[in-house]
Symmetry: C2
Subunit: 374 residues, 2 copies
Amino acid sequence: MTRQISIYNSLTRQKEIFKPLTDGHVGMYVCGPTVYSDVHLGNCRTFVSFDVIYRYLLYIGYQVRYVRNITDVGHLLDDGEDRMLKGAKTNNLEPMEVAQKYTVGFHDMMRIFNTLPPSIEPRATGHIIEQIEMVQVILDNGYAYIKNGSVYFDTLKFAEATGEYGKLSGRIIDDLIAESRDNLKNQDEKNHPSDFAIWMKATEEHIMKWNSPWSVGFPGWHLECSAMSTKYLGKKFDIHGGGNDLKFPHHENEIAQNIGSCGCHPASYWLHTNMLLMNGKKMSKSDGNTISPVELFTGDSTHVTKGYSPMVVRFFMLQSHYRSPNDLTDEALSAAEKGYKRLMEAFKIVKVYPCPVKQKVLWTKKLSIFLMEH
Amino acid sequence: MTRQISIYNSLTRQKEIFKPLTDGHVGMYVCGPTVYSDVHLGNCRTFVSFDVIYRYLLYIGYQVRYVRNITDVGHLLDDGEDRMLKGAKTNNLEPMEVAQKYTVGFHDMMRIFNTLPPSIEPRATGHIIEQIEMVQVILDNGYAYIKNGSVYFDTLKFAEATGEYGKLSGRIIDDLIAESRDNLKNQDEKNHPSDFAIWMKATEEHIMKWNSPWSVGFPGWHLECSAMSTKYLGKKFDIHGGGNDLKFPHHENEIAQNIGSCGCHPASYWLHTNMLLMNGKKMSKSDGNTISPVELFTGDSTHVTKGYSPMVVRFFMLQSHYRSPNDLTDEALSAAEKGYKRLMEAFKIVKVYPCPVKQKVLWTKKLSIFLMEH
């Protein structure tokens, strides 16, 4: 019934024919934003890419359950500070006011970019019970240990027992030891530098915390995606997506948690979007080489000569394959503006062109999803 | 600093001078929608009314934390069927897909009606731990009992011990017995017909369920508001709002739960919006006397001669005081359309009128919130 497609699987590092677990149905999980600040243009590129993948799967006849989460707790900065609390401090708000402010802003931006809402949009704070239960199963299976009220995933034991750790990111445990930063919070509590917290004991001042069998605390960031994908898509599902930067440690640890609790790889296919560059370089606030979506729309930035409409930016983003870097320059945007105009003119012609209605519907549908190559 | 205002308190049945618990700050909780179907026009009237109250409080200088929940579990129909599961069955979706679909639709409608998002928008499924903990405290305080894995609030014991049950709705326990429907689910498990479930044991087929000390089940509908208002506004806060139809049993039971767990009335002031009528009668699907927001905007209904823009409908809704019934008729909408046009013309004149900027800003602000009387 549905057309055969091939997709590149980051896990196996090859193009594979797409075979869903259940005929005609696709379960897709995409890592959503941490709602502690305005969404970056680079994140927008990821979500626009998965929007087209979602629309394309629907277009070729699949019934898709598209789950994209909202991270509103547990995502720590390198110095161990909770991103949500940092957002709260900066804005002088309660953490959940921060989450609401930036969730609304994120949804607004997704609408501006003409993306479809996902089928389910679970929040990390909304699934504490499920996360606590998953920690317990991982402990029961012997892949985690408790230290001072926190629970850590035992990567070494897991790697030895399953041979699975590092497969997605291509890292091996020895490299991980060398790379691990000494300044990670609670580093000293870990048996091994590559171990990671799946439950963290909260300090007295920490606002977002819940009772658990181990301490009043909060879940580790990686855990939410394992718990929520399992809840809404099952232990095994078809596609897991996210930005390239999430491959390690986030997705690697997610796989470890899923195997450690459910005994199987969660997703058949892993899809990762590449970076959005600006003027050939990585976007970076400290170098001034950055632009926000709003600055891009209004032209209020030294990096562009004028503002570009959201649909021009969307069109520009979709001119690169999602696995290739996307280099944002004023010239490329200007060219995209012309290209988008031409596409829309073609769209108008198709609408009035005398051809069978069926053909017309097909063309219109094709154009409306901005067909991507695969 | 802030202007003195008087508001009608449904609890005391009189107009009172508004004194917030903390100078300059207002905590306001408004019962939000159950996201199992499209939002009704009547609900829109309630949320538009509280939007103006929110804007007005901000306008006179208060810092407002406005909490409005999303009910995505536990709200049962008269025959005991879970509204979310009913929505899921009708749409052939998982309950959380139903919640997402109608949450997105609700947010869209709130934006169309030009309402501000609340400061925090907690979901019932996102606060199961908090609800379980509140059930435990109510049990510990002796105001609830366990029957076959479900937990019921003991209204008779609560009424005798505190004298508080029925104050908001003006009902007395004897009336409640007479009124209680025999077909309520698990009626036979209750010691008294006016008792209500705060935790319900789930059947095998029930999809949305969680572990608890009493059973795998789900929280009673009334509980979420008690738990979430306490979490985000504290045991005592300033304003609690909702539609008139929520006074009993929802708000009455909410007060009972709060006093039963925290020992105090939650809100200082209770505000209730009146009904939206159509052609002088209660809107009712079975009588065909109903119109959806979209039908009203497009004019696709026998009840209107043409479509009316969302801002005209908003203007029409705000022409009645929120405590009075609001009678929607084609003539009234047509008159509102003219009135709204006049207001917008005045707005344009103010913008170009040569007067001090300060005065202009004041007028513009006043007009922009559609000042309501109080």
